[in-house]
Symmetry: C2
DNA sequence: ATACAATTATTGTATATACAAATGTATAGG
DNA sequence: CCTATACATTTGTATATACAATAATTGTAT
């Protein structure tokens, strides 16, 4: 990602500003590519993220606040995000019997099956995105990001 | 930014996946803080970006496709983004006399004035976001991001 | 000149998201 | 036991965004 070329600036950008812009450009590009990869499956990144969280629960259902807590990109309206996954029959929603304010959301077999297909795709996409990096560089990048 | 803590995972995340997630978490957090800083001025990050691009034109107006090309986060509908800036009287839109398909968008004095106020704020916010980094680390980070 | 394609921006429409208010449920204090 | 408060989610509504269709203008080939 060449910052100056991409945003067509000839003047010099201060290092701090350039870093922020650089990060934005990179993650925007990653998001675009991920969305594109998921598009044939008619699944958004957010929906994919929820499915993965639910699988990580290993059978134990999650409630809405748990999902919200764990989502990479938080949403202001997880109810309706889940609605869409229910429509696709990838998840189920039941009222929690021990506390009826809560809902229990769990992934269905159909959802798990879909996720297995997506796993391959996503792992490939991630690798493709990072193919210029050595393992050491990836570790270095993570160390730097940890400072935020 | 502690990835595992933030998304509440106990299992180990593969390095490549972790890197992508890490980037997302960091830029989401940056975006949140920037939006928050701009909020009192009722300006979105996108609108701010357009104003800055227009100032960079140094009097020379820009057309829509130029804006689109240069925006950090591209929009599918720059027309309506500009509409909002016109409503606030920060920019003006005229039909390009040499090619009437094009529009000429330019920043107004009021827009420039507003931008001067925002500059301080944004520069401060950027510094605050990056205060854990040395200049060397920032350069290092940019070098790594360049690999995308 | 005329027809056709290419360019540039706008508009319509469906969907997504943010934010606040409302709903239903549980808990704690008098 | 009653009421107030806190909690968890849902719903309403305004705004934002994506995507496709349309409109207007220009360039080009015949």
């Amino acid at each position: 990602m060449n910052v100056e070329e991409r945003i067509k600036t000839e003047g010099e950008i201060p290092l701090e500003r350039r870093t922020i812009i650089h990060l934005m450009l990179v993650t925007n590009s990653i998001n675009d590519k991920m969305s594109l990869a998921l598009k044939p499956f008619d699944i958004s990144i957010q929906q994919f993220n929820v499915l993965r969280i639910l699988r990580g629960q290993k059978g134990k259902p999650a409630n809405l606040s748990t999902l919200n807590e764990r989502m990479v990109t938080k949403m202001s309206n997880t109810t309706r995000l889940v609605d869409k996954l229910i429509l696709k029959e990838f998840v189920e929603r039941h009222i929690c019997p021990s506390n009826r304010r809560k809902v229990e959301i769990s992934i269905t077999d159909k959802g798990l099956e879909q996720l297995r297909k997506l796993d391959v795709l996503i792992t490939e996409t991630e690798s493709r995105l990072l193919n210029e990096f050595t393992v050491d560089e990836l570790k270095q990048l993570n160390t730097l990001l940890h400072k935020f």
